[in-house]
């Protein structure tokens, strides 16, 4: 069902956790639909210095969360904004068709976190 990469990221998820006083937080999904993803960003200048996630969801949801954090760590905000759902799924060697909406969530959560960062920065 899942690729080896998905299973690896599910069993050994990267960057699990929270960041205290994050520069940006994004949350998508809801428990009613069976999935919630929350992504925390620590931004230094334009660079994403640290990123963490917490996810309630299936194997694909956890794996995409983990993968997206790995993909953005050390990247610029601009680069991060270019990460698409398809790119996350591809980085995991693909997802089962029924699970494609999980990959939609991970990139969405990231983009929400960046939006939050932008809002916070503007406010400052």
């Amino acid at each position: 069902m899942y690729t080896e990469k998905v299973m690896d990221h599910f069993m050994n998820p990267r960057n699990v956790g929270e960041i205290e006083n994050p520069d940006g937080v994004g949350e998508v999904g809801n428990a009613k639909c069976g999935d919630i993803m929350r992504i925390y960003l620590d931004v230094d200048g334009d660079i994403i210095k640290d990123v963490k996630f917490k996810t309630f969801g299936c194997g694909a949801a956890v794996a995409t969360s983990s993968m997206v954090t790995e993909m953005v760590k050390g990247k610029t905000i601009e680069e991060a904004l270019k990460i698409t759902n398809a790119a996350v799924a591809e980085a995991l060697d693909g997802l089962p068709p029924a699970k494609m909406h999980c990959s939609n969530l991970a990139a969405d959560a990231l983009h929400e976190a960046i939006k939050d960062y932008h809002q916070k920065t503007l406010k400052v």
Binding site: M11, K32, G34, R38, T55, P97
Partner: protein, 387 residues
Amino acid sequence: MRRVYLDHSATTPVDPEVAKLMMTYYTEKYGNPSSVHSFGRDAKAALENARESVAKLLGAQPTEITFTSGGTEADNLAIIGTAEAQSKKGKHIITSAVEHHAVLETCEFLEKNGYELTIVPVDEEGLIAVEDVEKAIRPDTILITIMHANNEVGTIQPIAEIGKLARDKGIVFHVDAVQSFGKIPIDVVAMNVDLMTVSSHKIYGPKGVGALYIRKGVRVIPRIYGGGQEKKRRSGTENTPGIIGFGKACEIAAQRMEEEAAREAKLRDKLLEGIMEKIDYVKLNGPQGEKRLPGILNVSIQFIEGEALLLSLDMMGIAASSGSACTSGSLDPSHVLLAMGLTHEIAHGSLRFSFGRQNTEEDVDYVLEQLPKIVERLRMMSPLYDQ
């Protein structure tokens, strides 16, 4: 790694004795039961022998048993076949909110084709109230279809009472007994049942075989036309090895049922107690005690999602199942758990362990060793879990 299969409600391994018998009919006694020659006659005799074994476990007559390709086909034959046979009398059908998809989807297919459906609710234990069924009955009600025991939570319905009601009103009564058959006693006569679905692969027989009990005198329009096998009720070359295996599985189930039910109930209770002791925020789904199947345990583990649980258990060699929507890729979790009033969140975290003949105390110990660690790990990842 230890492998612990706790998903017997989904399917069971074929009993070795059953498998051995089937082999003979695959490779040696392979005749078509419709054939005149001895190969055919041998197959035919064994087929009829199997029919007797199935009938016996239901308290039915062999002539009342029609073999099908499984529980799903039997449900379809019972429901659509009755609807078509009775459509002049009326077009109203009563079923429950916790039926298997094989019943619900079939009823919904009929609904799209001009029939009316009343879906009776269940309480928080998954139990149907006989009064609710009674209230739902109308002059044009032609069929009541209610399952015997639920496949997700194990709740056993008051079939005999509903049967009496249906019989009194002259309404055809179909019971999906796929989960209870061979696990707890069944007597179609005492239960006032007209049609009953059973399936082989839930009782250590082969997949792809089932049967519909059709009480003598009850008319069902066939769904599959052809060579006129099964007294024209279900055409197609009979799956003789499969049917013979099913018959053997029934014989074995009849012998072991009582002892095995007690044994599995004990394992189940041990597992439940252990889980409750070791993990917090856990909810038992379904009734306690007598009103449930001995082999099924369904719990909701809060703050985590079922598929993630299943995958993690699987990595440790433990096979279970979940009513989570994410296991199937749909969006809504189990209709059974929702009908019992669970919130989506809780339903998503449900876990079903279903016991079988080869399970041991050690299996339970192993699950109790692994599960808490898995829950801990997943909860640490969950945004819903703030200790």
